[in-house]
Amino acid sequence: MVTTFLGHQWKAFWRSRNKAGSIAAQVVLVLFMLYFLAIALALGIFMSKIIEETFPGSEVIAIFNGYILYYFLFDLGVRAQLQELPTLSIVPYLHLKIERKTIINFLNTRAIFNFFNLLPLIVMVPFSMTRVGAAYGPFAAIMYVVSIVALTFFNNFFVLYLKRKSINNIAYFMLILGLVGTFAALDYFHIISVREASNFVFAAIARQPFLGFLFVFAAVGIFIINSNYLRANLYTEELSTKDDKKVSTDYPFLNSFGKVGELAALELKLILRHKRSRGSIFMGFAFLAYGFIFYKSGPIQHDEFGKMLFAALFMTGITIISYGQFMFAWQSAHFDGLLVNKIDFKNFIKAKFLLFTISCTTITILASFYGFISYKLLLLHLAAYFYNIGFATVLVLYFATMNFKRLDITKKASFNFQGTGATQWILGFPFILIPIFIYIPFGIANKPYWGLLAIGTFGLISLLMRNFWINLLVKRFEKQRYKIAEGFRE
């Protein structure tokens, strides 16, 4: 029976309606996965070498031990964000003559086929088999592997259980992320060491391999809890939506912008009340950490802004690019309604500008903590900010008039390529290339600050031209609206 289910799932995947259109997206997704798998494989094979190079002179196995629980802690955080529940697919089977146990078995089996379950095995099993086996004997090596598999299963079913208990509840996930963050911070500041704890646990397993069964017990425990919960709550409504009372809300701040503010408030509600839009906003906050990767002391000291421009543009403009790339399609479900009602298209476009400006300003202010690294970064951000609100907004909205793909906004955002078309792929090029081309001549002439000034001025001029842009976009929108509406009805 379970194999029949899996067969149906397989068909559902290959016959899905938007399949043909999103093959390119699927290919990208597969490439992503292969990329991560390759990294994981390299990490797994060269683990002992890597540890010896990074921590010269220390005991390799102790370091490895220290990172096992650390890894699973982060794994938990990532899963909380990215792993999805395999639920809705069971609806057509619930009323048939199929035992509940079978359905639950299917759900559990299905959950094991997950990319996240493969990664830790590839990273950690080779090292366990070779180095640990050599040092402590084959039984210890096997128990290492057993423990790692058990921890993987534990995380897998623990996250699923939490997700089932708390569907639509963001607070839960902020809690998990907060917890992971706190542990990481405690470890970083040497208050409580996750690494020492982990080493302690696995050193014990190395000496007394039987202790590894404790992880197995934990995994089996959470598996049973999860299955019992499923058995008791196998009703579609309990699995898919949570019945908390919804309240009407009002944003007094936006009301001061009149009709435009009303439309902006409408869209803000859309963002906050859908999974996908919420996800892309959260991603925006996550990208605030981007600077730590790109802002190196070398380029900062030598005023090489060209190398950091990409990060600055992306960070301050993340809401514009991640939300704006699907513009108008967010409203695809009720686009007809917007067209027949007495909404001035000018106000409609203005509302988008208002939202972009507010969100971009907020993110830029938040990003100003990079000023602690160097005041130069603030100048860089300021230039990027003006470019983003002045010109990137126009760019995004212009591209939006060529986007005819309906967007399903009730699904999660990460690794979701539904509704992605050529527009989204092309959009990134002008967004990033225009400011870089503006900067290049100044960079070559070794006048970096003039380069920033040029980008900022470009943005500012474009900002002052906003009324002109609005008229242009409205004209374009009026011309394209039939096509957009038709595409969204599909």
């Binding site: 939506t241 009372k245 919804k246 309240v247 009407s248 809300t249 009709k259 009303e262 409408l266 509600k269 859309l270 009340r273 859908h274 479900a333 009720h334 686009f335 007809d336 309604g337 067209l339 027949v340 009602n341 007495k342 909404i343 039939y482 509406a485 038709e486 009805r489």
Partner: protein
């Protein structure tokens, strides 16, 4: 009120709407009937400027709906759930729609009170988003929001579908009384011949995009229509 001239629309070589000349006078209640694929919804969409006709034009109060959006001032419509902003609560939705017609939230609440009976206590203050309502109740929200705009022209696509019997009867009474009190022009499409003949004073029968019959209702209309469709 409405004049349609040489209106044509085809998809992939198949003609969906092909109407040479059609006039609708102020205060008429028009019933649009026809089997699936007759072009009813497409016609409504062109009337509401949601689809661009291949040729011809729709004039509302003598101005082309595709060129001038003045018709939005006096036209209200509900075709399908695509007209609802489904992540809002009904209250939020009514207030939003009201604000487009310069109605204050207090004004909207006041106005909605007369629909208490129509809503049957199932719409307001339920603590749900529109998307969580049943289809019938979503219909009610859409129809009430359309009526709230005090239109001179009302366009409803299959308003009786999914409604419970009580609400169907209430809706019919409502349309009849609005016709008397405000000279409301109404366009309704429906598969329910009983309702259509009951509430409409003129029936337009479409088939494959063509107007096959166009006549005023009398006591024989229902039989006539039944005879036509059972052929």
């Amino acid at each position: 009120m409405i004049t349609i001239r040489d209106l044509k629309k085809s998809y992939a070589g198949r003609t969906v709407v092909n109407i040479n000349n059609l006039n609708i006078r102020t205060g008429e209640t028009i019933g649009l009937v026809g089997n699936n694929g007759a072009g009813k919804t497409t016609l409504f969409r062109m009337l509401l400027d949601l689809i661009r006709p291949d040729s011809g034009e729709v004039l509302s109060k003598d101005s082309n709906v595709a060129k001038n959006s003045g018709w939005k001032d006096y036209t209200a419509s509900y075709l399908d759930e695509g007209f609802l902003i489904d992540y809002l609560t009904p209250e939020e939705y009514f207030i939003f729609i009201g604000s487009l017609q310069q109605m204050s939230p207090a004004h909207v609440n006041d106005y909605l009170r007369q629909y208490d009976e129509f809503f049957n206590g199932e719409i307001l203050n339920r603590g749900k988003y529109i998307r969580d309502f049943s289809k019938g109740n979503q219909n009610k929200v859409g129809i009430a929001a359309a009526l709230m705009q005090k239109p001179e022209l009302l366009v409803l696509d299959e308003p009786f579908a999914n409604l419970d019997p009580t609400t169907q009867i209430r809706l019919k009474t409502l349309i009849k009384s609005l016709k008397k009190s405000q000279r409301l022009t109404t366009l309704i499409s429906s598969h329910d011949l009983n309702h259509v003949t009951d509430v409409c004073d003129r029936i337009i029968l479409l088939e494959k995009g063509l107007v096959i019959k166009d006549f005023h209702t009398d006591e024989n209309t229902l039989k006539e229509l039944e005879a036509y469709f059972s052929e």
